[in-house]
């Protein structure tokens, strides 16, 4: 742990900013009920209020406090995206590394299943499944995780195949090491760098995917606050906005708030991933 703190102290500025932003998002998500001035789904005032006290970011079409919904949105959107990405990686990495290491029929079977899944456009596929299962959070997470794990599978399998040609794998096999040791201790650490980079990227895509589904009405369901549906609900306001005075302008800026929150987090994650990648590849040399 201290090693990572030391590393962080020597990290470039961009990485520090990224870590700081992610920490900020995390704190917001975890302590949302205490930080938000109003409840998540309660109507607390007139609709379409400008940005002024007590509603610092105004209210939406139903008169709910936008700041509170943004704060709760961090918890819902980021939390679900994170759980989904972690699940996708657990599934994809495990099967990918196993397929490469075991080879034979397992590899063929797993690869063909993944090919079939990848052949279907993922958004259409997700829409189809979610229409059948209904739009619960569990179904959402599982569907996106399975769809996303195909790309993780491809990547981890390809990376592992390169690693498996190395002599140290031969040494482990000659020693009679079991599958678990070879995958976990010999292959995984060497595959970590590209997988971490992919994690950052995947996280952003999952995030956007959930937002896209929410935008289409099949993601998180109202009244749960999430950034994707907040963008959808307020998107049309831009065209009606009048930028002649500050009060009127805030009306048009409403959709930019959740969109900005998504963009900023995506940026922060990528800044940290870049640095992690740099550090882990640097250790290899």
């Amino acid at each position: 742990m201290t090693r990572y703190l030391v590393l962080l102290r020597h990290a470039p500025l961009m990485a520090k900013i990224g870590v700081l932003l992610i920490a900020l998002y995390a704190v917001t998500a975890i302590f949302a009920p205490w930080l938000a001035p109003y409840p998540e789904a309660a109507v607390v005032g007139p609709k379409y209020q400008p940005w002024a006290a007590p509603h610092w970011l105004g209210t939406d079409a139903l008169g709910r406090d936008v700041l509170s919904r943004l704060i709760y949105g961090a918890r819902n959107t980021v939390g679900i995206a994170l759980v989904t990405t972690v699940l996708a990686f657990l599934l994809g990495t495990t099967t990918g590394l196993l397929a490469a290491t075991v080879g034979g029929w397992f590899d063929t079977l797993a690869s063909r299943v993944v090919d079939v899944l990848m052949a279907i456009p993922s958004l259409i596929f997700a829409l189809l499944i979610l229409t059948i299962t209904g739009t619960s959070v569990v179904a959402l997470v599982l569907v996106i995780a399975v769809l996303d794990s195909t790309r993780v599978f491809r990547l981890s399998r390809a990376v592992a195949q390169g690693i498996l040609t190395m002599d140290y794998i031969e040494v482990a096999r000659m020693r009679g090491e079991g599958l678990g040791w070879i995958v976990r201790r010999e292959v995984l650490p060497n595959a970590a760098a590209p997988l971490i980079a992919e994690f950052g990227l995947r996280f952003c895509f999952v995030f956007l995917f959930i937002s896209a589904l929410s935008f289409l009405g099949l993601g998180l369901q109202p009244p749960t606050a999430d950034w994707g549906s907040m963008v959808r609900d307020s998107a049309k306001l831009i065209s009606f906005a009048n930028f002649s005075s500050w009060n009127a302008a805030t009306f048009g800026l409403a959709p930019l708030l959740p969109a900005g929150a998504i963009a900023l987090l995506t940026l922060a994650v990528n800044m940290v991933v870049d640095w992690v990648l740099h550090v882990s590849s640097g250790l290899k040399d």
Binding site: D167, Y168, R175, N190, L283
Partner: protein, 543 residues
């Protein structure tokens, strides 16, 4: 006459974790027109950096901190890139160590050959092609008219190295820099490349800088030799003078490496064989790589398996380790047959037969610390844990002459090439084996480091009664450590017997070829050898 190349007091720095570290510390080098200067030294001596600097080039992460490089009167330090680009390829050419990595795999050889002369405006494309064929002929490449139209992967390593030399000569440069051009080749191929390079340099009157860590090679090629150590100059003299009478201790130690002899053996312990290979035929797919191979290794002895690349040496090792199942024949360890897939062997047998790989770089997991590398076999085979394991790791580190407290927490990336190979030896020793296969363990190392490894292996054998199967293509190594020799060619054993017998005539013709191809320190050796071979061919034709 002014010198062609004059480097004086050159300082080159590398970017490190804490600022810039000097890696070439004020070295001078002069090359006259038509002169061949050899640069020798162990790895990390700054030979390649100095060689590249002669073109006014340093690798990324390096910078020239001081001194001057004058080529034909022009200062290259701080010269504009356009001027340097005009010089490189046209007047100064470079031949890289690994031509397989230096050629672009997507282009035909002749396209790459012609690019230089055409881009520099020296020749038209048609002239350059005609010239290329002439150079290929001069480099004694087979089918000079058509070989240029092949892709790099379609020709052998030795041919590729000659094609690269031909390419370097395309613009008739005044100076060619050869960076270890034969290090990756086996001895019989090396001869062809060396003689082709030497004749070509002589005929064209080019000057050359010849970088190598092999003294015997430099003795054949260079008029003058310069010895480098850790970025400083040790000594410089005409080749013959240097060979006959080295002035510095370091140079003398370089010379002495080749004279390493193992401790005398106790003849009483020789009798029973620990490992026997009986009529093994094995291969990948339908084509057998090994054909009816039989030999045995006596307890406490070293058997060397020699042959050029592709002769089946490493495949033999894979069969013994159980990584490749033989299609016929069997392997016996203490008269017990070894099961074909190694997984089916009892763990105790897996423990007793260990292997050390050629490339320590790829044989060590870059993410396992020294402690884990040695600790794992201790835990896996001997069930050691906690303090007992820790104590044994330290013992083993001391055994391989690495200071335990200093090295135990390092990653492989923080070790030098020789230290990595020692670590691989410690990993093999950790299993407490009786029999170790050493697969070209010294061929990736320079001579001083390699000698240290050989001494270590010899001492361990004496102390622990280990038996070695030593796979190598380097006959100097065989001469120093083997008790018995097995010569392989194209998957067959062509000759085998005690070392002394093998090194005294009469030989099998292939053994003869291998033996005579090992460079000697005598500067006249290559000329004499080529003369003899020519005479032999002449006689053969007459008869």
């Amino acid at each position: 006459m002014s010198k062609l190349l004059e480097i004086s007091d050159l300082k080159i720095e590398a970017r490190g974790g804490d600022g810039w570290n000097e890696i070439v510390k004020g070295v001078g080098l002069q090359v006259a027109r038509g002169e061949v200067v050899g640069l020798i030294g162990e790895s990390g001596a700054g030979k390649s950096t100095l060689g590249l600097a002669a073109m006014g080039y340093v690798k990324p992460g390096l910078r020239i901190a001081g001194g001057s490089i004058r080529f034909d009167g022009q200062e290259l330090v701080g010269a504009p890139e356009s001027m340097l680009r005009d010089l490189r390829g046209r007047r100064i050419a470079y031949v890289a160590q690994s031509s397989a990595a230096a050629f672009n795999p997507a282009w035909r050889l002749i396209d790459q050959h012609c690019e230089g002369p055409v881009r520099h405006g020296v020749m038209s494309r048609a002239e350059a092609q005609a010239e290329a064929v002439a150079l290929y002929r001069q480099m004694r490449l087979p089918d000079p008219e058509t070989i240029g139209f092949r892709y790099p992967h379609q020709v052998s390593g030795g041919q590729l190295q000659r094609a690269m030399t031909a390419m370097a000569m395309a613009c008739r440069p005044d100076l060619i820099i050869f960076d270890e051009p034969t290090t990756a080749l086996d001895v019989t191929t090396q001869i062809e490349v060396l003689s082709a390079i030497r004749d070509a340099v002589r005929d064209h009157g080019s000057a050359a800088i010849y970088i190598t860590h092999d003294l015997a090679v430099v003795a054949q090629m260079a008029d003058r030799v310069k010895v480098l150590l850790k970025g400083t100059e040790v000594e410089e003299a005409p080749t013959r003078e240097m060979l006959a009478n080295p002035q510095q201790d370091y140079t003398r130690s370089l010379w002495a490496v080749r004279d390493f002899r193992p401790s005398p053996r106790d003849p009483a312990t020789s009798a029973e064989p620990i490992l026997r290979i009986e009529n093994v035929t094995a291969g990948y797919g339908a084509l057998p790589v090994l054909r009816d191979v039989s030999f045995s290794v006596a307890r406490g002895r070293t058997v060397a398996v020699v042959g050029e690349s592709g002769s089946g040496k490493s495949t033999t090792a894979r069969v013994i380790m159980g990584l490749l199942a033989p299609s016929q024949g069997r392997v016996l360890f203490e008269d017990q047959p070894l099961a074909a897939p190694g997984r089916q062997r009892p763990r105790d047998l897996q423990r007793r037969v260990q292997m050390i790989h050629q490339m320590a770089d790829t044989a060590l997991n870059p993410w396992h610390r020294v402690r884990d590398v040695i600790g794992r076999p201790l835990e896996f085979f001997l069930g050691l844990r906690g303090a007992a394991k820790e104590a044994r790791i330290r013992e083993l580190l001391a055994e391989i002459e690495l200071e335990p407290s200093q090295f135990i927490d390092r990653l492989p990336g923080e070790l030098s090439g020789g230290q990595k190979q020692r670590l691989c030896i410690a990993r093999a020793l950790a299993a407490d084996p009786d029999f170790i296969i050493c697969d070209e363990v010294t061929s990736a190392l320079d001579q001083i480091v390699a000698e240290g490894i050989l001494r270590l292996l010899d001492r361990l054998q004496r102390e622990m009664g280990l038996s070695y199967l030593f796979i190598t293509h380097d006959l100097a190594t065989v001469r120093s450590i083997a008790d018995e020799v097995v010569v392989m060619q194209q998957g067959r054993v062509v000759e085998q017997g005690p070392k002394d017998e093998m090194f005294t005539p009469p030989h099998h013709p292939y053994t003869e070829l291998l033996l005579s191809s090992v460079p000697e320190m005598d500067p006249d050796w290559l000329s004499r050898l080529l003369e003899q071979r020519r005479a032999a061919v002449g006689k053969g034709d007459a008869a």
